[in-house]
Amino acid sequence: MTSTTAAPRGVEGKSRSVAEDVPLRTQGSGRAARNALYILRKLGLFVLTLWAAVTVNFILPRLMPGTPADAALAKLAQNGPVSDATKAAIEAQLGVPTGNIFEQYVTYLHQVITLDFGVSYTFYPQTVSELVSTALPYTLVLVGVVTIIAFILGTLLGVLAAWKRGTWLDTLPTLSGSFASAFPYFWTALLLLFFAGYVWRLFPTSGAYGPTATPNLSFGFLGDALYHAFLPALTILITSLGGWILGMRNTMISTIGDDYVTFAEANGLKPRVVALRYAARNAILPNLTSFGLALGGVVGGSILVERVFGYPGVGYLLFNAVTNQDYPLMQALFLMITLSVLVANFLVDILYGVLDPRTRR
């Protein structure tokens, strides 16, 4: 029995220090190389999927029997014999594939790269590129901006709801958010249209700008465009906000229970720092994936909302293309939607790498 009951082991510990497990692996320069490698790997994957998507877009229509010209001719043939001249005219208009499949593929790739998607059937003689480039800004501004606003606002409200769990700051946004998002898009759109547009006459009921305005970049026109975009924007905001609030609130509640949040509190960090830098900073990560998907979907527009408000965006264009069997327009739009989903996912991947050091390894 020695008298050093207090701490008979402390001294021997010194020699061992941290001969423990894992050494400090890579040095500082290794981290930069690893980051570059991470981005390169994601970029490579992006290019590969892009090529696959473009190729599938080429192959799919060719797997279907017949050509668009055949379909048009068959329709005419029901009403009586088709003259050779008509046949030639239709084939000239719709195009008949020439050369073998590889030559077609090369021509197709060339067209994709030069954004030459031919002439629209419905809006003849406008080219597909012209149509898309006119519609795209409206959709990008309307759906894109609103999606970003909804994400930011919803995330903030979600953080607040989780942090003040059980108070009115939690119940009010959570309940009203899930209530509003339970309505279908078109129903909310119709309600707003009826009251704000028709009964109270606060906002225009259709179009992207007034009948007398011509599209340019003057303040007058931009103000008019915003005025017209207000109701459709509000519709999208109301119906999508609840999802973001709930998503963020739920992940945030589980991170609040994590040990690093308790430890941060035990270390006396300010509540705001604990909530944002510790809890919310980690809780937002899984939500970024859904945000990426939502952003990718922006280019497809919001068909229902654009249709109800007669808003000339990509969604409206797509609706017209489908109802009128406008193949060139459809093909170009599908390609564009695929592309934007891929780009959005790529950006989220990179962002994820920046925000979460664990993914970089």
Partner: protein, 564 residues
Amino acid sequence: MTDTTVLEVVDLDVDYGTGGGATHAVRNVSFQLAQGEFVGLVGESGSGKSTLGFAIAGLSKPPAVIAKGRILFDGKDIASMSAEELREQRHGGVAMVLQSGMNALNPVRTIRNHFRDIFEAHGHVEKSEWDARAAEMVGKVELPPQVLARYPGELSGGMRQRISIALALSLEPQLMVFDEPTTALDVLVQHAVMDTIIELQRRENFTALLISHDLGIVLESAQRVMVMHEGQIVEDAPAHDVLRKPKDEYTKMLLSHYADPRGKVVELPGFEDRAERSKKGASRAATAAHPPTVSPRERRRDQKSIVVENLVKVYPPPRRGESEVRAVDDVSFTLEPGASLALVGASGSGKSTIAKLITAVEKSTSGSVHFGNLDVAKLRRGQFRSLHRDVQMVFQDPYAALNPLHTVEYTLTRPVVNFTKLRGQDARRRVLELLDTVGLSPVEEFAAKLPHQLSGGQRQRVVIARALASDPQVIIADEPVSMLDVSLRAGVLALLEDLREQWGVSMLYITHDLLSARLVTDNIMVLNHGKVVERGETAEVLQHPKDEYTVRLLDAIPNPRKVA
């Protein structure tokens, strides 16, 4: 209250919930801590020790409520402080190190930023001094300054726990509460981290409260020990008094479950020394005062050995640019029918991988495993059943090994139906029989329970009953008692031992706990980085270890008797 008193707890009650349905986690607790004292707080799970620790650190959160009493720190009652007062007193006040230090760091912030957050919150360090101070703090826990640039995910568990100690220390606390600071760590790392804590306390002279379930660790480090049982402090005395003349029955019981595996004679309640027993040729149940847990029965006639030859398992590199991992490296052994063999080693030594290879959960890189004349590696999908009928696993974590949505009866009926021809009433009779075998009676009552209604020891018995359902010849027990309270361990070990002796079930016992290996196995193999570094009779190897690694494992065991 004297001048040197740092903390005074008076008549403290902490409840979970309020009103009639409240449970009293801490009851009528009073004690004082003097400046510079190192005090241990010991108790088993559910004793209220962590609840008490959280209350002292001002971290009690609903449903935990301080129902009565005061916690006076520096003369001020922590319970009546406002949130902001409490936050401010965390500098120079009470700091806490959590049990799961590995998860106590924000995965997306570097270590340097963790320190900056603390300095920023309390403003006790000049901004220009931040990095220098952070480097000084990690130096105190024996880490190099390079760790400051790391993210938590890039550090090992032991390093992360050291970092959280350094973070708590950077608050310049008068009192540090350590809540099970080494429990989640590997044995060898545990030992090193404990040394650092002891060393730091002596050098920095803060007051320390070490909360642990392990009386051994506490007795080795603390000057004074408080024992907690069912919410009350049942013993509060200097460490060597607790060890040599414990007053409380509960403390005596806890102490009786410690023994030095290196001793000539190793006995625990329910276990007479193995060597003595084999001299008499008697079974555990026959020699111990405790009744046998299973009734004897005829041994199966088709008993087979497990023969492992030159087994190798190589895993691909965990990250780019690193070398492959040889988890199991040329291991051979034979497990005879009715024999018991211990596989011991620290985490990462490959002991669990061997279990996976034997049960064909994973495929070996080379070498072979034979069960009788069955080559385990050559089994096809449909043939696993015959192997698994005879070779069953008991897992480490009884909390994760049972589906929380199914009753005990359902859990046990599945393997009975899968592996035997019993159905309906016969299957039910068999389930009840199994429950009786593992000592869970009244059986009808236990059959109807859900896992959350059982204690850890009872759950582990259900897991063992499930393993027995197919009437196996071999049980592979992977750390079967490491998650259980000390007082429950002996019972589960006795059950495993009786199954072997009475039924002839052979056992491969995987553990890092050398004491339990000494109690239930005849032979032992010590593994280090996948290689067998030492093998032989358990009692012989543990008394006269030859390999340096075995010696380190033995040294890492906290043992109160070492102090005496």
